[in-house]
Each structure stands twice: as structure tokens, then as C-alpha cells.
């Protein structure tokens, strides 16, 4: 499971970098514990865009009410992993 979350973390970082055009960082070097709002500058519209891409990628729905909980890449990875597990 640890490996799954690690791979998911890298993939989410890649999606964030692509969607937000964060040119000066790579998925491998993206700190998964950075606060996306305070330290990366992500806002609710950015997060909505990322949520739609994640919906495509993982086939899960991300509730709008959950946006405020998705504060770091690691937390998003855990959220997705839990969603996928609960859908099994």
C-alpha cells in the first residue's frame, strides 16, 4: 500500500505541475507535504480543475465539500486511495 500511495503521490504531483504550469519543479522533487493553498498558491478553481483531471484518471468523484480537506499532495493521494478502496 505504501508503494501505491507513493506512486499516486508522484502522479498527482505530475497532474498539479501540468495543470498549474509549475515549470520549475518535477514530480519527483515536488514536496508532497507542501500546503497547496498557502505554499503553492492553489485556489478553489485550480483545485476544481485538478479534481476533474483526477476524476478522469481514477474514475472517482471528489465532493466539492472535500476540497478544503485536500491540503497537500500526500493527503490527496490518501484520499484517492481510500476512495478506491471503499469502491471495491
Amino acid at each position: 500500500m505504501q508503494n501505491d500511495i507513493s506512486q499516486t503521490t508522484i502522479r498527482i504531483a505530475q497532474i498539479l505541475i501540468n495543470e498549474l504550469k509549475l515549470d520549475d519543479v518535477t514530480p519527483e522533487t515536488f514536496d508532497p507535504d507542501l500546503d497547496l493553498v498557502d505554499e503553492v498558491g492553489v485556489d478553489s478553481m485550480d483545485l476544481a480543475t485538478v479534481a476533474l483531471v483526477l476524476r478522469d484518471e481514477y474514475g472517482i468523484r471528489i465532493d466539492e465539500d472535500d476540497y478544503p480537506k485536500l491540503t497537500t499532495v500526500r493527503i490527496i493521494a490518501e484520499y484517492i486511495t481510500n476512495k478506491l478502496r471503499s469502491d471495491d
Partner: protein, 355 residues
């Protein structure tokens, strides 16, 4: 509810934006996702007194007026520091304090001013200027106690690229929108639409009912089709603002007054400052003291509908409708933003929160 139950195809977001027309419009509006607004009451004075004016409802009208330019400068610098990129200057009447508007403009150069248009705001304050219209001049005289309002507004803002007229539909001026729009079209002005939204406790004759909402919808649709160069609106704007349910019931209001979330979005960033430069999270709203259940206000919709991108990314038509709404919002509020042709020319039902 999945597609096997609804019989409706489920689209991936990537499928929706694979349409080059949708993709182009999405990329166009997406450049403006950086906008973070807050609003500011500039003065508690006004040169007209309109029935149903939200400013003179509630406690904010009694706030002390701060006319000190240095205090405003300090406030706006702090606002910029915390990430505010767009200001809405309102009032009572901001044109009475142009020196304060100028301070705001120098510090945060993107914004809009809501004015009754009777006093011209100097050109070097290069914000969008929203000029409020409540009907023809006879109705304005009755409701706003001011003579020849529209004629004076048109002259004051002739050939001014900042200006857009905001026609507020009330139950008593629905038909007059035709003559007002025709007159504005003749003079080369732009118009967008607002809905009267009752202040808390208001029981007067301007509150809409299902019949006046339906008549307003019909009139807006006629005008949108008849004056595509003049009317800055879309079919989805009409849907969102004339539904019997208000904006909060349809979309869940994202302003702090009705939104307990303080971690992200408007709940985190939005403040509504009174004339004493104080703000109160419990009251923070683009139209404070409005009866939230009756709120169909254009300014509220600009944020509330726009924030619900995820819900509208269910199928191409819904997403086009949402893009039209955002494109309209940007054209109304952001100077030099040019509205594109609407992508969706029919009424699309608002999505439910569970969609």
C-alpha cells in the same frame, strides 16, 4: 447516480474539452482564475435614495466614514499583500469620493465601481464602471426620486470604454427594459442584467414572484437575441437568475455569510469592508443584508455560479453553458476583456449538487 440508472452518458472532462471550441474558451477564461475579490463601501452618502436599496438596510449605513487617504492606502496595501487582486467599490455612492477610488486604483489596478452614474468618475480611475438602471426615466423618478437619470447617465458615460449599464429587473419595469436597451444600443453602450433581490425584511412591491420571474426570463431572452452586440449576457445567465429558486438554493452560496468554510475560495479570501474600514465575517457578502433566499443578484452570481465548475463538467452542453456564464462575468467585470459569442443557445437546467 450512475449512467446505467439515468440512461445519460457520463463524460470524462478530457472528452468535454477535446472539443476545440470548448478547449479554446476554457483556456481563455482560465487565465483569469487568479482573480480574488473583496468589496469596499467607500462612503455612506448618496445623491439619490432608491426604494429597496440594500446599502440602507441593516447596520452598515451607520458605520463611521473614514475619508483619510492614508488609511485607505494602508488597507489596500494589506489587501494586496493577502492576495486580493480585484476590488469592487460600492457604497452608498463611490463617485462622491473619487480621491479614495483613486487610492484603491493605484494600489490594486483591477476592479469595478458600482455607481448611479450621475457624477462622472475621472477617466484615470480605470476600473469597470457599473451604472445602475432601474427602468425608464419615469420609473426612476418614482423609485429613485431623480429626474432624467438614464439621459444623464448616457451623456456622462458616452464613449467611455469603462462603462456598462446594469439593468435591475423589478416586477414593475420588466417591459421598460426594451426601450432602455434600444436607447443604449442607439448610443453604442453595453448593458447587462441584474435582478432585484429583496433586502431582509423587505415586503414592498419590488419583490419578484414566479410570474414576474417568468416574464423577466422571456424579456431577457428577447433582448439577448435582438441586441447581441449590446446585451452582455447568455442563456445560462438567464437560467441562473430567473429560476424560482434563488442562487443559494441552486448553487450553495460561496460568500462567507452563508459559507462556513474558511480554508479555501471566497470563504477564505473575501471580505466586505464598511466605510469605517472594518469587516465582519458574519455579514461578509457582495450584497449584505439581502434576503439570501431571494438573492438573484448579478454580483453574487458572478462568484457563486462561476465557483461551480466541477458540477457543470458533466456533459458538453452544461460545460458550454457554464463557460458562457464565466465569459459574461469576465466581460462585465474586467476591463479590456472581450466577450466571445455564446456557445450554448438554449436553456440548460442547473446541475444538482450531487450531479
Amino acid at each position: 447516480m450512475n449512467s446505467s440508472v439515468t440512461g445519460k452518458k457520463e463524460y470524462k472532462f478530457s472528452e468535454i474539452i477535446a472539443d476545440p471550441v470548448i478547449k479554446e474558451r476554457f483556456e481563455k477564461v482560465r487565465k483569469y482564475f487568479f482573480l480574488r475579490e473583496s468589496t469596499y463601501d467607500m462612503t455612506h452618502r448618496c445623491n439619490v435614495r432608491c426604494e429597496g436599496c440594500y446599502y440602507f438596510a441593516g447596520e452598515k449605513q451607520f458605520a463611521e466614514e473614514n475619508l483619510d487617504e492614508n488609511s485607505w492606502q494602508t488597507l489596500l496595501e494589506a489587501e494586496k499583500e493577502r492576495g486580493i487582486t480585484f476590488v469592487v467599490l460600492a457604497g452608498a455612492e463611490p463617485s462622491l469620493v473619487p480621491q479614495l477610488c483613486e487610492v484603491c486604483y493605484r494600489t490594486i489596478p483591477l476592479g469595478a465601481i458600482a455607481t448611479n452614474g450621475l457624477i462622472h468618475i475621472p477617466l484615470h480611475i480605470d476600473y469597470k464602471i457599473h451604472i445602475s438602471v432601474w427602468g425608464n426615466d419615469q420609473t426612476s423618478l418614482e423609485i429613485r426620486k431623480a429626474k432624467d437619470m438614464l439621459a444623464r447617465q448616457i451623456v456622462n458615460y458616452q464613449d467611455d470604454p469603462r462603462a456598462i449599464f446594469v439593468y435591475t429587473f423589478t416586477p414593475v419595469n420588466i417591459d421598460q427594459a426594451r426601450e432602455v436597451t434600444a436607447l443604449l444600443a442607439q448610443n453604442g453602450h453595453k448593458i447587462t442584467f441584474n435582478m432585484f433581490s429583496a433586502p431582509e425584511g423587505y415586503q414592498g412591491h419590488l419583490r419578484h414572484d414566479p410570474d414576474t420571474l417568468a416574464r423577466t426570463r422571456q424579456t431577457m431572452t428577447e433582448l439577448l437575441l435582438q441586441y447581441p452586440e449590446t446585451v452582455v449576457y447568455s442563456h445560462y445567465n438567464i437560467v441562473a437568475h430567473t429560476d424560482p429558486k434563488g442562487l443559494h438554493a441552486l448553487y450553495s452560496c460561496s460568500y462567507p455569510r452563508r459559507n462556513p468554510l474558511s480554508d479555501i475560495g471566497l470563504g477564505r479570501s473575501f471580505r466586505q469592508y464598511r466605510t469605517d474600514l472594518q469587516w465582519d465575517r458574519e455579514a461578509a457578502c457582495c450584497v449584505p443584508d439581502t434576503d439570501c433566499d431571494d438573492c438573484r443578484h448579478y454580483a453574487a452570481g458572478s462568484a457563486v455560479v462561476t465557483a461551480r465548475m466541477y458540477r457543470h463538467a458533466s456533459d458538453p452542453e452544461s460545460f458550454k453553458a457554464w463557460l458562457d456564464y464565466v465569459d459574461t462575468y469576465l466581460a462585465v467585470w474586467v476591463k479590456d476583456y472581450t466577450k466571445g459569442q455564446n456557445l450554448c443557445d438554449r436553456f440548460i437546467a442547473p446541475p444538482s449538487a450531487e450531479a
